[in-house]
């Protein structure tokens, strides 16, 4: 999906190039994992199982910027985060983690958000592509008219320079 990245950036300048999950994101993930290992192996296992869609997306997504894996990871994280908070605030963290893992509703929520992320990366780019095409056509028309106007005013010689 990013094969024409160089050309695209020439048309519409991109403020910054995103190359996968940022250092801060990786640091947060690492801190969460260390924290979970320190409080409960069950909690860590729950986290690893919950974040499975994100891990798969990171492995599969090799495109520049890795926008798809970032989106899926973020949505997956949104789904798992309330359960992590529940485990974190409970005195029996392993029991809380086990309970959460046993509840199918938990997995529905977590994977449901991952699916929402997946939908986002399928729907939004197509919508923006359509918008961009319409805008480009309109700009093309305006530029062509402007070119005609310039040539009409300054003669055909202006085309040769």
């Amino acid at each position: 999906m990013d094969e024409n990245n160089e050309n695209n950036s020439a048309i519409i300048p991109v403020s910054s190039e995103l190359h996968g999950i940022s250092v801060a994101g990786k640091a947060i993930g690492l801190m969460v994992m260390i924290w979970l290992i320190s409080i409960s192996y069950y909690a860590f296992a729950f986290f690893m199982l919950g974040m499975l869609p994100a891990i798969l997306a990171i492995i599969v997504d090799k495109g520049a910027g890795r926008f798809g894996s970032q989106t899926i990871s973020a949505c997956n994280f949104i789904g798992i985060l309330p359960f992590l908070f529940d485990i974190g605030v409970n005195y029996e963290k392993s029991i809380a983690a086990t309970e959460a893992m046993k509840d199918p509703y938990t997995w529905m929520i977590i994977y449901g958000f991952a699916i929402i992320g997946l939908m986002l990366i399928y729907v939004l780019p197509n919508i923006t592509a359509i918008i961009f095409t319409i805008k480009a056509e309109s700009k093309l028309k305006r530029l062509t008219q402007e070119q005609e106007k310039i040539a009409n005013e300054w003669g055909d010689q202006v085309r040769n320079f």
Binding site: N4, N8, Q70, T71, N126, L140, L143, R159
Partner: protein, 704 residues
């Protein structure tokens, strides 16, 4: 006859002031070309009417008075009085012998047809105007007709009447600086009373139709159109030949090929040809030997002729053969002892001549004469190395070398190139003829003569007393620079007018109108419909420049930074016309202004901007009605428009270029789609990260 030149000039001035003479301007305009009182032209406003007195009957041609460049018509005296006359209308494509016409018109001759009037006249026979000269009609028959009918002329009549009468005419013409050039049996009339009348000499370039037998060698070897104005010996030489023919009762060269006659003149000399076989008195021998002497300084003048008429005996020897060297030189299998004859043969056999001069034969031949060291040096230096960059086609180094050799060996003879031969003062007429006949060979020959400075080789030999020759040489010198310039108003066309002061404008647009001055030219092109949309052409530009005596193109300081404008022919033409209008004080020329404005569309099209162009054209239109060309010039050369146009065009070019790049990119649907897709992905990342952040904040708040 003994009056000196000054007295003669005063007489002429007095005559000019005489209202009864040519001075009459009651019905037309009058002007002097180059402010020269001899180059005076008057114009009639009435169709076919000269000087308000003579009505030309264009339907009644008089072929017996026709000449190569003049058509004769009968004339009716308006007041039914006066002597019989005829009109001769002159060819518009050839220079008019205007000075001669004016001088002759101011004088009355007993034994020559008098010029009664001369004017530029609107003609009913042709479109436009003609230059018509009203000439007294000679009575009697021509001498040619007389001898055909009656045989030889009585020697007594010849000695006592004919020779003195013609001699006086020649002398009077000489005082006025005129060479008749047509002293021959066909142009001299004899009436029943025995009165001799010499015919006119103004209807063709001097000596154009004169048979070779009557001419001196220098004129006989030149093309008829390039003979030049001649000198004092020309007419006396012709008188000698005429007298011999009359004494013999026939012209022995009649019907003989002219080239053969010329060869005999070289081999035997004119004296031998015309006098051999005539049984004559010793008195006549003196006359022929004096008149037909080979050397110019030995030819008789009026004084000797008068003394001879009074009965003095000179006991002259026959004219010496023109042998410069005792030992001959062989060329083309023929041996020559005369340089003039050798030179003529080199000219006739040009290709062989080119090869011949490459050898040292001529130098070795000349070196036998110890007095010719200077000539040898000059011959050794002669080589084709002048003006190569301006050489017209068909003239290489060897051609130039041969031309130089010819001039060095015969410095008083004509300038000769392949198939072209003209005396210095005949180059103007030859050039006019080349233009008239569209003869590119002769045109190129004259260009080569001027650009290679060939006239310089004869210049040093031109006697200071020969003003016509001096003037011609000076004009040619002037032409070198004028020919080199490529601007409008210069080049070979400019040389045409520089060498022919009395030539009307030769532009096809104006030729029929016979315009002699810039004032006339401006008024005529104001009134005339332009031919093929052309207002001015090269001929007209050259004519205007010559009349303005322009030595360089009109400088337009406002356009210094815009060379494409300064060299534009329309701008140059407008500048010339504008300068002519200012110089001549010609009033408003609204029609010409309108035509010029139309023609300037070619110039305004140089401007890129349509708006600026329209603005400029509207400003031009506003000035048209005033008819002042300088106003148009001021507007068209206003740098304001050009600067605006230049800056605007640069900006427009940049914008166009940037737009073009964008258009190329936007036209690629795949690229546009990819960009949109990429933005969609970024947007998805931003939305998901944003929700995650909100969630974290909410959970943190809840927890604490």
């Amino acid at each position: 006859m003994a009056e000196n030149k000054d007295t003669n000039s005063k007489d002429f001035l007095n005559t000019l002031e005489d209202p009864a003479g040519l001075n009459s301007t009651s019905d037309g305009s009058e002007y002097y070309l180059r402010k020269n009182r001899h180059l005076r032209i008057t114009c009639s406003q009435v169709k076919d009417e000269v000087d308000g007195m003579f009505a030309i009957n264009f339907k009644q041609e008089l072929p017996q008075f026709n000449t190569a460049f003049g058509k004769a018509y009968s004339v009716t005296h308006k007041f039914g009085a006066g002597e019989a006359a005829y009109a001769i209308t002159l060819d518009k494509k050839y220079p008019i012998r205007l000075a001669e016409i004016n001088k002759l018109a101011a004088k009355t001759f007993d034994h020559m047809v008098n010029i009664l009037a001369a004017q530029v006249v609107p003609s009913s026979a042709s479109k436009g105007r003609v230059f018509a000269v009203i000439i007294e009609r000679p009575s009697g028959i021509t001498l040619a007709e007389y001898i055909n009918k009656n045989g030889a002329v009585n020697p007594d009549y010849l000695t006592r009447t004919l020779i003195p009468a013609i001699g006086v005419i020649i002398a009077e013409l000489q005082k006025m600086g005129i060479t008749h050039g047509r002293i021959n049996t066909n142009n001299i009339y004899l009436d029943e009373a025995g009165k001799i009348t010499v015919g006119e000499c103004i209807s063709e370039p001097c000596g154009y139709s004169q048979p070779i037998i009557y001419e001196t060698l220098n004129r006989a070897t030149a093309m008829p159109i390039g003979k030049g104005n001649g000198n004092e010996t020309v007419d006396y030489n012709a008188l000698g030949v005429l007298a011999a023919i009359l004494l013999r009762g026939k012209d022995i060269t009649e019907g003989v090929d002219q080239e053969e006659v010329l060869a005999r003149k070289f081999e035997e000399g004119t004296y031998k040809i015309v006098t051999s076989g005539i049984d004559m008195q010793p008195q006549m021998l003196d006359f022929f030997r004096g008149m037909l002497a080979n050397r110019k300084n030995e030819v008789w003048g009026l004084n000797q002729l008068q003394e001879w008429v009074r009965g003095r005996r000179f006991n002259l020897l026959p004219p010496a053969d023109s042998i410069e060297d005792n030992r001959p030189i062989a060329f083309n299998g023929v041996k020559y002892t005369s340089r003039k004859y050798l030179v003529h043969k080199l000219y006739i056999n040009w290709d062989e001549g080119k090869k011949f001069v490459q050898k040292d034969n001529i130098i070795r031949w000349i070196s036998r004469n110890p007095n010719d060291n200077e000539l040898i040096e000059r011959l050794e230096l002669a080589s084709g190395h002048y003006g190569k960059e301006r050489t017209a086609p068909g003239f290489d180094d060897e051609d130039e070398t041969l031309a130089q050799y010819i001039l060095l060996l015969d410095p008083t003879g004509p300038i000769r190139l392949r198939d072209f031969s003209a005396n210095i003062d005949g180059l103007g007429c030859a050039l006019a003829d080349a233009f008239a006949r569209n003869n590119t060979h002769n045109l190129h020959s004259i260009e080569n003569i001027i650009s290679h400075n060939l006239q310089l080789l004869t210049h040093s030999k031109a006697p200071s007393s020969d003003t016509s020759l001096q003037e011609a040489t000076n004009n040619l010198q002037k032409c070198i620079e004028l020919l080199r310039k490529k601007d409008y108003g210069f080049g070979i066309e400019r040389c045409l007018y520089e060498l022919n002061k009395a030539l009307p404008c030769q532009s096809p647009i104006l030729l029929e109108d016979l315009t002699f001055t810039n004032e006339e030219l401006l008024r005529t092109i104001d009134e005339n419909e332009s031919v093929g949309g052309k207002i001015i052409d090269k001929q007209m530009a050259a004519f205007i420049s010559e009349r303005l005596d322009l030595q360089m193109r009109v400088h337009l300081s406002a356009l210094t930074r815009f060379p494409e404008f300064t060299t534009n022919i329309y701008i140059q033409a407008l500048a010339l016309l504008s300068l002519a209008q200012q110089t001549c004080n010609v009033g408003a020329l609204p029609k010409l202004s309108a035509k010029i404005c139309d023609s300037l569309k070619g110039v305004t099209s140089i401007l890129h901007s349509k708006t600026i162009r329209v603005d400029l054209e509207e400003n031009l239109k506003k000035t048209v009605n005033k008819g002042v060309l300088s106003n148009i010039l001021r507007i068209i050369t206003n740098p304001k428009y050009l600067v605006r146009d230049r800056i605007g065009f640069k900006k427009a070019t940049n914008i166009y270029k940037n737009n073009a790049i964008q258009i190329v990119k936007l036209s690629n649907a795949k690229v546009v789609n990819n960009v949109g897709y990429r933005y969609g992905l970024q947007l998805a990342v931003m939305i998901s990260f944003f929700i995650a952040t909100i969630e974290i904040i909410t959970l943190v708040i809840k927890a604490f």
